[in-house]
């Protein structure tokens, strides 16, 4: 009798669990006006992507579309399953923020096969057909940093560029933007070396540069980790140099607030999510969309 009771208990709990969870009843079989957009997000365990989702959610509410977010938990196999589930659920557009550009290929192809348009956010896909890719404009961000250094130095001086991992698109684009901003001014890049986006390497590379260069007015690092490493080297040398980083990490923002770093470039994840929904709605309305949509960045300074 006790056993039967426990069985009944299981049944009850499973039942109430399911009932409790289905706060949105599937009234969308047949003809529903509200379109559904699926979002497979790489992780909801990182503030950047939580913000991205929040931006998408807010825009979805504003434009009266339904957003279904599934968390890939930084696992490509989970991402694959999530996209399959979104397809089976019959969503109208799938937005993917890939865990990895290569591994997402099969997921994009599965959506293509089901004739559901795919939009990628923040990271691209190396395969399948994607109607639009929305990501931070790293070139514009590098330019922003370059222009700020030009402004602070009055258009004249010697600068050091600490580069990211050679070949990484973020390193390439940030460098390109920075160099285009200082082109035509009297700013000269006296040293340009990679520190692989790494704080410890930023420190040692900067130490070496400080030894070699008697005069340095500013440092632009392709990310905050390298900027903070360089800052340590500069502090130890007792010299005074402007440092501008990229990413607006908490450490970097604190350094900017203390006046140790001049600035850092901040990405706008909410804007990425919001633009994702806008683009998805355009796709649903049959409008043409750009296949690459850059998102602006902003400068964090004291």
């Amino acid at each position: 009798m006790k056993k039967i009771l426990s069985l009944a208990l299981v049944a009850l709990i499973v039942l109430s669990l399911m009932a409790g969870c289905s706060n949105n009843k599937p009234a969308n079989n047949g003809k529903s006006e509200v379109k559904t957009i699926g979002l497979a997000i790489s992780t909801l365990n990182n503030p950047f992507f939580v913000d991205l989702e929040a931006g998408a959610k807010a825009k979805a509410a504003e434009l009266n579309v339904k957003l279904v977010t599934l968390d890939s938990q930084d696992d490509s196999a989970t991402e694959m399953s999530n996209v399959e589930d979104l397809i089976n659920q019959g969503v109208d557009v799938i937005m993917i923020n890939p865990t990895d550009s290569d591994a997402v290929k099969s997921a994009v192809e599965a959506a293509n096969k089901a004739n559901i348009p795919v939009i990628t956010l923040d990271r691209g896909a190396n395969g399948g057909t994607v109607v639009s890719h929305i990501a931070s404009d790293n070139v514009a961000g590098g330019k922003l940093a370059g222009e700020y250094i030009v402004e602070l130095l009055g258009g004249k001086g010697k600068v050091v560029e600490l580069e990211g991992i050679p070949g990484a698109s973020a390193a390439r684009d940030r460098g390109e933007g920075f160099n285009s901003a200082i082109a035509g001014t009297d700013l000269k890049v006296v040293a340009k070396q990679t520190a692989n986006f790494d704080r410890a390497q930023g420190l040692t590379v900067m130490e070496n540069i400080l030894q070699a260069q008697p005069e340095i007015d500013a440092v632009f690092a392709h990310n905050d980790e390298m900027a903070l490493g360089a800052l340590e080297a500069i502090k130890a040398s007792g010299r005074n140099t402007l440092v501008v980083g990229f990413d607006a990490t908490d450490d970097a923002k604190a350094a900017v607030a203390k006046g140790e770093m001049a600035a850092t470039v901040e990405q706008l994840p909410k804007e990425i999510g919001s633009l994702g929904i806008q683009t998805a709605v355009k796709v649903l309305n049959g409008e043409k969309v750009e296949n690459m949509i850059p998102v602006n960045l902003q400068l964090v300074k004291k």
């Binding site: 426990s6 490509s76 399953s81 591994a103």
Partner: protein, 317 residues
């Protein structure tokens, strides 16, 4: 007596009851759940965990555990992807990966028997060790299988169909059948149950339980390697963090299937149902658009209920 028999029978089917109730409830709430396409999706998604859980069933049946399965999956997947990318024949790749997984399992078994380590501790060591080796080997970057004919053929193992059914589903069924046969119709299978129920008595009856353990951990390693092949083939790339946490889903499937963590009691059919329960839950919670934070809460509750019932079952004995 008859009442007892009836209760025992009911208890044996308990996982099935949970699966049926869950499926019925979900199909009522969301008609899309019970479509043919979605059922195939669930089966394909379940196949990876089901294969790992089959190996895990062996380990748990002898009263042990294998925490290293996720790392074995990641390691063998990375090796397989590298070999495919370098143009090695697909069959050679599959066999190498399986042998590698078996060898790692054998190593786990050696640590447990010759090294006299608790299985939990031994495999806790290998889980970290192997993950480190994966990172060194891949330099922390994903390994793509490339865009060759060989990689396309390899991809069929994870993403292809034979008739209307996905290939991994066939593989899962073959694994179930083989494991069922070994556990129920071979001498080594009976030794597995015997050493799990009472190791000392088994030793006194002249059976070398160390050999049984080596066999069991080798099977578990081989199954994890097979799952690694399935994941890598499906994604066309091996991720350095592939398989992290997969041991937990596998253990959950085994326990949900009614296998006792103390060893000696359990069936492959139970594990199959346990893996399906987890697959159905994952899929259903997604279809019903439950936030991922709540999904973990729901899964945790289901696992806890299963463990509580497992405890009751043992008290009954």
């Amino acid at each position: 007596m008859t009442m007892n028999k009836f209760i025992n029978k009911l208890l044996k089917n308990k996982p099935l009851i949970v699966l049926i109730i869950t499926s019925v409830v979900v199909s009522v709430l969301n008609p899309r759940f019970s479509t043919w396409g979605n059922i195939l999706t669930i089966l394909r998604q379940t196949s990876i965990n089901a294969v790992i859980a089959t190996g895990m069933t062996f380990a748990i049946l002898i009263g042990g555990i294998d925490l290293s399965v996720g790392s074995v999956l990641g390691f063998c997947g990375a090796i397989a992807a590298t070999m495919i990318a370098s143009g090695t024949n697909v069959f050679i790749v599959v066999i190498t990966a399986l042998l590698l997984g078996t060898a790692i399992g054998f190593l786990n078994g050696t640590l447990v028997t010759a090294g006299r380590l608790q299985p939990f501790i031994a495999t806790l060591g290998t889980v970290t060790l192997l993950r480190g080796i994966i990172m060194v080997f891949t330099q922390g970057r994903p390994v793509s299988t490339g865009n060759t004919d060989a990689s396309a053929f390899f991809g069929k193992i994870g993403g292809g169909f034979i008739g209307p059914i996905p290939v991994p589903v066939y593989i899962m069924l073959l694994v179930f059948i083989a494991a069922y046969y070994i556990l129920n119709h071979t001498r080594i299978g009976r030794y597995v149950y015997a050493s799990g129920s009472n190791e000392e008595a088994t030793i006194y009856s002249g059976i070398n339980t160390n050999k049984v353990k080596l066999f069991v951990y080798s099977v578990s390693g081989m199954m994890a390697a097979l799952a690694g092949i399935l994941v890598t083939a499906r994604l066309g790339s091996a991720q350095p963090n592939a398989g992290v946490g997969y041991e937990l889903d596998a253990i959950a499937a085994v326990v949900l299937g009614g296998t006792s963590m103390a060893g000696g009691i359990g069936t492959i059919a139970g594990t199959a149902i346990g893996a399906l329960i987890i697959g159905v839950l994952n899929n259903a919670l997604n279809l019903m658009q439950v936030s991922s934070y709540y999904q973990d809460v729901a899964k945790g509750i289901v696992i806890l209920i299963a463990v509580l019932l497992d405890r009751k079952q043992k008290l009954l004995r």
